[in-house]
């Protein structure tokens, strides 16, 4: 395990010490839950002092009574679109969106144009992150050359160049033989394999969930079994090869069942679910609004409940956004012709808090834990509030309400499926690898006054 700070970013600068006075500190992983003066100094959480007691010379003090300090979030599934898609996003804007969402670290997918499949590609992206990124960024490389699903990339060299994992995300690895080779080769290359699980034969030209809504709209459906059968296939292969896999963006009840069965059988498998699959269903697609088009698609209410249950029980390990920016012209077209994907970094926490925590479907501690649990599957230490830990924390106001998108976005793209929603719970500040990566504007002004 390595700390978040070993990923690439422009660095923390030379921050002043920071005291969060009377903040509610909550770190379920470390058993921290109470009111403290939380002190950050020299890039570390140095002290959880009794409220009102901390004294640090030259520290910035924030009166944080009623606010929460938690381990900052970690997103193992982000599309930064660099190289080749800079009209939608790049390292600078995407990492700024991450910081605004309370994330101290993100992992960027490799399905760029061209795909990230050589050591030179990884090196170039790492340099860009070192110059531009507001939070630490890790880059995945593709599993197969050109994402063509046929030949493995030079995984050992990619690892040495600094790739943090491998994924052909955006596309499944169609061939079971190639999948097996990748799992075997993990014994040498050693890095995590993040899998977009979908059977292209079953998905066909599908554009939304197969069910009553697709039947009504006359849209070709993507059946739930397109995902679950591939999870079952790859879980079997991983068990057989003694490999570990990370299953991306679960969407269906059948998939949660397949994951639970695989874990029970001893497969070294982790998985993620997105805020949109946890809070929306294919009913949203009735409007034929391409803003709700993504892959995997929004499914039915039974699927959504199964995802929430899985998140609660730990069958689903973490929440990932699958932040997928697109320019307006990719979405201002009929549903079938529109690009798949939605942005998510800036709304993830508030959406989970508003739609799951406040109604009682998920307790806050579990939500907080799952928001940062995406680090471990990729060998990165999860953020922690324990004194002595690298300072990766988010400060949020659980009662603040705001309208998604009303003040614009940090992301270059605006294809959020939550635009216009009233959300409760707002990220005020993000500390990443010891430095302040983000301050919410009105909060920052209030503090200054």
């Amino acid at each position: 395990m390595r700390p978040v700070s070993e990923l690439d970013w422009r660095g923390p600068g030379e921050p002043r010490p920071l005291i969060l006075r009377r903040v509610t500190a909550l770190d379920p992983r470390q058993g921290v839950d109470g009111t403290f003066d939380l002190v950050v100094r020299d890039g570390e959480v140095t002290e959880l002092a009794a409220p009102g007691e901390a004294v640090v010379a030259g520290a910035e003090e924030i009166e944080a009574e009623g606010m929460y300090a938690c381990p900052a979030f970690f997103d193992p599934h982000v599309h930064l679109r660099a190289p080749g898609g800079e009209d939608a996003e790049d390292v600078e804007t995407g990492s700024r969106a991450a910081a605004a969402g309370g994330y101290c670290g993100i992992l960027a997918m490799a399905n760029t144009r061209p795909p990230v499949d050589t050591a030179a590609d990884i090196s170039a992206l790492r340099e860009r992150a070192a110059a531009e990124a507001s939070v630490p960024v890790g880059f995945l490389a593709t599993v197969t050359r050109g994402m063509e699903g046929e030949e493995l990339t030079e995984m050992a060299e990619l690892r040495d160049a600094g790739a943090v994992g491998f994924s052909d995300d955006g596309l499944p690895i169609r061939s079971a033989r190639v999948m097996r080779l990748a799992l075997q080769y993990q014994k040498l290359a050693g890095l995590q394999l993040a899998l977009h699980e979908e059977d292209p034969e079953l998905s066909g030209a599908g554009v939304m969930n197969e069910g009553p809504v697709s039947a009504l709209l006359g849209l070709e459906g993507i059946p739930a079994v397109s995902e679950s059968t591939m999870i079952a296939r790859d879980a079997s292969l991983a068990l057989y090869e003694g490999a570990r896999i990370h299953v991306q963006h679960l969407s269906a009840r059948e998939s949660v069942e397949a994951v639970a069965a695989a874990k029970a059988a001893g497969v070294a498998l982790t998985c993620e679910a997105t805020p949109h699959h946890l809070t929306l269903t294919d009913e949203a697609v009735r409007s034929l609004d391409a803003g709700f088009k993504m892959n995997p698609p929004l499914r039915g209410e039974g699927d959504r409940q199964a995802l929430i249950d899985g998140l609660r029980s730990g069958t689903i390990d973490c929440i990932a956004t699958d932040h997928a920016p697109h320019p307006p012209e990719a979405k201002e077209v009929p549903f079938e012709a529109a690009a798949m994907g939605v942005t998510g970094l800036e709304t993830a926490f508030a959406v989970i808090h508003t739609e799951l925590v406040l109604p009682g479907a998920l307790d806050l501690a579990t939500a907080i834990e799952r928001m940062s649990a995406g680090a471990q599957p990729f060998g990165i230490e999860p953020p922690s509030l324990e004194p002595g830990s690298e300072a990766n924390l988010v400060l949020f106001d659980p009662g603040a309400t705001w309208q998604a998108g009303a003040e614009g976005w940090e992301s270059r793209s605006e294809n959020s499926c939550f635009t216009g929603r009233r959300l409760t719970g707002r990220v005020l500040m993000t500390v990443a690898a010891g430095g302040v990566a983000y301050r919410q504007r009105s909060f920052a002004m209030g503090v200054a006054g």
Binding site: G211, A215, L219, L288, P334, A337
Partner: protein
């Protein structure tokens, strides 16, 4: 009504108002001079991204019978083929200030999108496999002429439900008019979840067809064979063809056209006494006149104020029907 985007979202009263208007247009059609001045000076754009003979010609003639100016844009040879986006095409055509845009697109939801981009009334002439509302309205019109009322009638829609916008719009419209609808076809061509979506019956063979008052056969497209939805047209015909053996003497037969003779229908039933197929085509013209009338009269000129007052009854007095131009 502001637009005709789909049967879903229409009230039964909307359907009845349009159909009774169509009846008065049917009377016009029996005169020597078949044209009325109702839409004189108004512009109708017909934008077809898919090949169509009957729907496009029917709408075009309907608009001309109402004295509207008609521009027809077909995808072949147009800017559409040069990669222009739908949004840009609509912006260009909207510059002519049309009162209505009739659009057919291979994509579900295209008409609804267009409605968000233009001041014109938008008529969906078929969007992907989603809806084809004018077809459903003309089919209801045809059936009401024959049966008087659809209340309690049993209607079987037979064939490739999966790929049929006609099936969806008709099932919705027939149900709104009080009929009990059953969708029947090979299990590979009946979409999962359609029963819940439409509240209709589903059958995977024609064993129960005898209960139907109306049998509505759909076109079976040859390309479905290539996708292995059915093993062969021969087997499809053996299981699902409507012929004189399957069609009872009191049952009515409908088909949206064009018919594949010998596939979904046998020759003798197409031309038989139970067939309403020719009546459907005739209905198409008057119902489409009524749709244009519904959406375009009462709209103030110049355009701009299209508040809901335009939908209120009696505002302003429409041109009397039947006045020769």
């Amino acid at each position: 009504m502001r637009h005709l985007l789909g049967v879903e979202g229409m009230e039964r009263a909307d359907i009845e108002r349009i159909l009774s208007r169509a009846e008065s247009f049917a009377e016009v059609g029996r005169r020597d001079i078949k044209k009325v001045p109702t839409l004189r000076g108004r512009t109708v754009v017909s934008l077809f991204y898919e090949a169509s003979t009957r729907t496009s010609s029917s709408f075009e003639l309907a608009a001309k019978r109402l004295s509207a100016d008609v521009i027809s844009v077909k995808s072949a040879g147009s800017s559409v083929d040069k990669g222009e986006s739908l949004k840009d095409t609509v912006a260009t055509l909207s510059a002519y200030g049309p009162e209505a845009i009739i659009i057919r697109s291979p994509h579900a939801g295209a008409a609804r999108l267009v409605a968000g981009w233009t001041d014109a009334a938008v008529i969906n002439a078929g969007d992907g496999k989603h809806e084809h509302p004018s077809q459903a309205l003309l089919d209801v019109f045809t059936l009401r002429q024959r049966l008087g009322d659809l209340e309690g009638k049993r209607i079987w829609i037979v064939g490739d439900i999966l790929h049929s916008r006609v099936a969806r719009s008709c099932a919705l419209a027939f149900a709104k008019m009080g009929a009990a609808v059953t969708l029947a076809g090979p299990p590979t061509l009946v979409p999962r979840g359609i029963r819940d979506a439409l509240g209709c019956g589903v059958a995977f063979d024609l064993g129960g067809l005898g209960e139907a008052d109306v049998v509505y056969a759909l076109r079976m497209q040859g390309e479905r064979m290539n996708d292995s939805f059915v093993p062969s047209l021969r087997e499809y015909a053996a299981e699902f063809q409507i012929d004189s053996r399957r069609l009872g003497p009191r049952q009515l037969l409908m088909h949206p056209g064009p018919v594949n003779r010998g596939v979904e229908l046998s020759a003798e039933v197409i031309d038989g006494p139970a067939s309403l197929i020719t009546a459907q085509v005739e209905s198409g013209l008057v119902v489409r006149m009524a749709i244009l009338y519904e959406l375009l009269t009462g709209r103030d000129r110049p355009r701009g104020d299209r508040a809901d007052t335009a939908e209120a009854d009696g505002l302003p007095a429409p041109t009397p029907i039947g006045e020769p131009a």
